[in-house]
Symmetry: C3
Subunit: 347 residues, 3 copies
């Protein structure tokens, strides 16, 4: 890709505010994993387990914990938190450039409250009463409904749909295909079938939130669906109406949260975790991949509930037994009773 | 949001065809839950369990069952079905207004059979031979393929894609990001890899169907994929080719139905239920969240099959035991045999 | 739908390079299942299990294995692989026609490297440095980011989003709503919350790949996410950053592969299979529906790990017992010990 960026070791050290060791003018053109990095690339070692790779790496420079740097003769940047410094270096090397400010002539912008530093891409549709704050980027094909608000320096990627009455805080990133503010799933059984409950709430999203591609966040039934600050959601997340998610919580791909569930702060949900409706999950709860949370969780900690795969023949045999597990318990209880009775009889 | 609507208690009673009690000119500006509603808001009590909240509510008026109204001194609307009346009231208070009839100049409309009452938003693309009936709304960015048909008073939200040969009945709502009529997943193994089976069927959707954001309904292989009347599908539903879904069936978020499955009428599938291909589910079957239906279900009733989470350490211990469940059965059978033999020996 | 195609039996036999039996000028207008096909329709019998339907079919002609043709008096096309021939016939009968070459005037095409045989639909946005090869079709509303490459004869359906730095091989089909190249889910915990790890890798997709509607394939963190040749992915597939998928692998709807997982060649993942991150799956591995792969799989074969549904009351009883499975094992072990001790005492 065009737009490759190059830094000298000394420039990187200055930008990352780190001490370095080695040739200050070593030119670095990108980042690569330790085992693959060449002499023009920066790398990092964040896990002491992979320390041995240091001996053979051909990386131009490595971000390292000072404790591990003593055995390393190459160029390095010293940090107590190499992984965090890798994150910051990734921003420096990112060749992706934001489009320039301005409204593409093919965009349809009814809103008047768009800051002049905003970039609005081709074929966007921005309805009336929308507010788009300083420095935001709206990529091509985005549709934003009446009365919604996009915070400062947000990046709304191509083909996102934001319904009316949605508020997004500053510095959020919304990836392509995301739908925010679609109707929550509310229906009352009526004499002639389902009657729609109009969803009168909106969606309120905090600061520094990132939402992965093709995710959905539904509007609330009466009150808002609320996503806290620093929440990160991976692709294909589904957040139902009136869910509340606390600050700093992270959800890996394809998590699904049913209506009115409340999830605490700094939780981590691994991939495809499900949460049923109307329950509460405390702060600092960690759920392993694919599990379903069926009851409120009050204690912080790690929770699990699914099996990994095994050979199909073995699985089938055990699963068949599972269907008679209750019976097995009764048989064991019977055996215990028999032995006790006989023991007594013999005693 | 702009467009707030206000009704007096008497006006609401007339609109909902309900008796009321209290001050007829009480002005109501919206709906809120019973515990949160202020004097300008309507609320409702649909579950006698929350009856006690009635005593402390500050709601301007409450939709109530007559049996519960005897203890309530405030303004109220009397109904044998308060939840249904809440649904109807939600429609009255909804500030969202449909766009005006007409075709936005940026839309590309090849079709000639578009009723003059239809609204077609900016940047839509409507291919040839498409028919769009009276009162339908096609929001911005929607693409509709050749020969498809959109029924009366449908609302197709922004950035929906409808392929060719799709028929949608009257009064349907299709949320943003939905794809209808994409190819079913059909391939034959050939000498040089997979060979595509062209999907020659279409999709036929009944009346009053609602389809949640980012859902997919695939076209049939030879015959149509069929969605009955009054079917409601939440976000991220995935309906494979040649599935048939009976009238009135409801699926919460992220349900997944594999090819040629037939689902009866008035079924409810909770969130993220899966149904394997080529099976049949009877009418009035209810499946709890996240379950996988692997065989046909003939009897109406409630079906389950997943665990909720537990502490990871506890789960791991039990899961390890599960992998030897077949062995445990054999051990118990052996114990039973031993006891029997000895009992005989002792007898 | 308009555009129905008609072939005589002799023409079909020539096109499919098959021997036929019966009236060469029988006109066939489409394909239908054996039980439903009328005299103007072609059908096929690929599974000897349904042989009995042959006796009653009214199909105009049937693709048959020669062994089964001996008992059949009707028109037939003889093939050792009727299912593959059905796939090829489906291509012949497909009425869907590709749009003509040319760039729609409403499309915004910055790229210069677009072959003159390419069709670019209305409201597409093609950024700079994009390359689109001979015969490709880009349907309406597609957005393609800077520097990406679309191979020969690809079909990119409406409202697809392809980020920058994505490479798609020849003859791929990408269905509507797909997002390719969105950011992988990479964040480092920092002093003030999550810090984004910019995703500097791209996505590299092989030849003859098909990707189902609303799927997501994320760009790599440092290196590319890689999809091999002849890979077929159904709707709503989610492929995280740095995943590698081998040639010929097939995934049914809603599969989810976490970051850096490596999946071998010619694997089949049934619907909604999950694969955790950083594991490896060998070639020729088959995973049944909905399972979660939590560890590397070295041996080819079939793997399972989820229950089907059962009546909720039965499930609840067994599930309650499961939560004490470890205790049950201890009780059985205790019984075995007691019996042994007593046996010894009696011995």
């Amino acid at each position: 890709m065009s737009g490759q960026k190059t830094f000298s070791l000394a420039e990187l050290a200055a930008a990352l505010e780190l001490e370095f060791r080695g040739q200050p003018d070593t030119q670095l053109e990108g980042i690569a994993p330790l085992g693959a990095a060449g002499p023009e690339q920066l790398s990092f070692l964040s896990n002491a387990k992979f320390k041995s790779v240091l001996q053979s790496t051909t990386a131009g420079a490595v971000i390292l914990h000072p404790d591990l740097a003593t055995d390393f003769a190459g160029n390095c940047l010293l940090s107590a938190n190499p992984y965090l410094m890798y994150a910051r270096a990734s921003a420096l090397f990112d060749p992706f450039t934001k489009p320039r400010a301005g409204v593409h002539p093919s965009a349809v912008v009814v809103a008047e409250n768009v800051h002049n530093s905003v970039s609005i891409g081709a074929n966007c549709v921005i309805e009336g009463d929308v507010e788009i704050a300083e420095g935001a980027t709206i990529a091509p094909g985005v549709v934003i409904g009446r009365g919604s608000r996009i915070g400062k320096y947000c990046y709304i990627h191509a083909n996102v749909t934001i319904y009316h009455g949605v508020s997004i805080g500053d510095e959020c990133i919304v990836h392509s295909g995301v739908v925010i503010g679609g109707d929550g799933f509310g229906f009352a059984p009526g004499p002639n079938g389902w009657e729609k409950i109009h969803q009168l709430g909106g969606v309120q999203i905090g600061r520094r939130v990132e939402i992965g591609a093709n995710s959905c966040i539904d509007r609330g039934a009466l009150e808002n669906t609320v996503i806290g600050n620093d929440v990160i959601l991976d692709d294909q997340t589904m957040i139902a109406h009136n869910v509340i998610i606390g600050d700093g919580t992270a959800m890996a791909g394809c998590c699904q949260v049913a209506g009115s569930a409340v999830i605490g702060k700094n939780c981590t949900l691994a991939g495809n975790v499900g949460v049923v409706g109307h329950i509460t999950i405390a702060d600092n709860v960690h759920i392993t991949a694919r599990c379903l949370v069926t009851k409120s969780i009050i204690q912080p900690g790690s929770y699990s509930g699914v099996f990994g795969v095994t050979e199909s023949a073995v699985w089938r045999k055990n699963a068949a037994r599972f269907s008679k597990l209750d019976e097995l318990y009764r048989r064991v209880a019977q055996l215990e009773k028999q032995l006790k009775i006989r023991d007594k009889g013999e005693g």
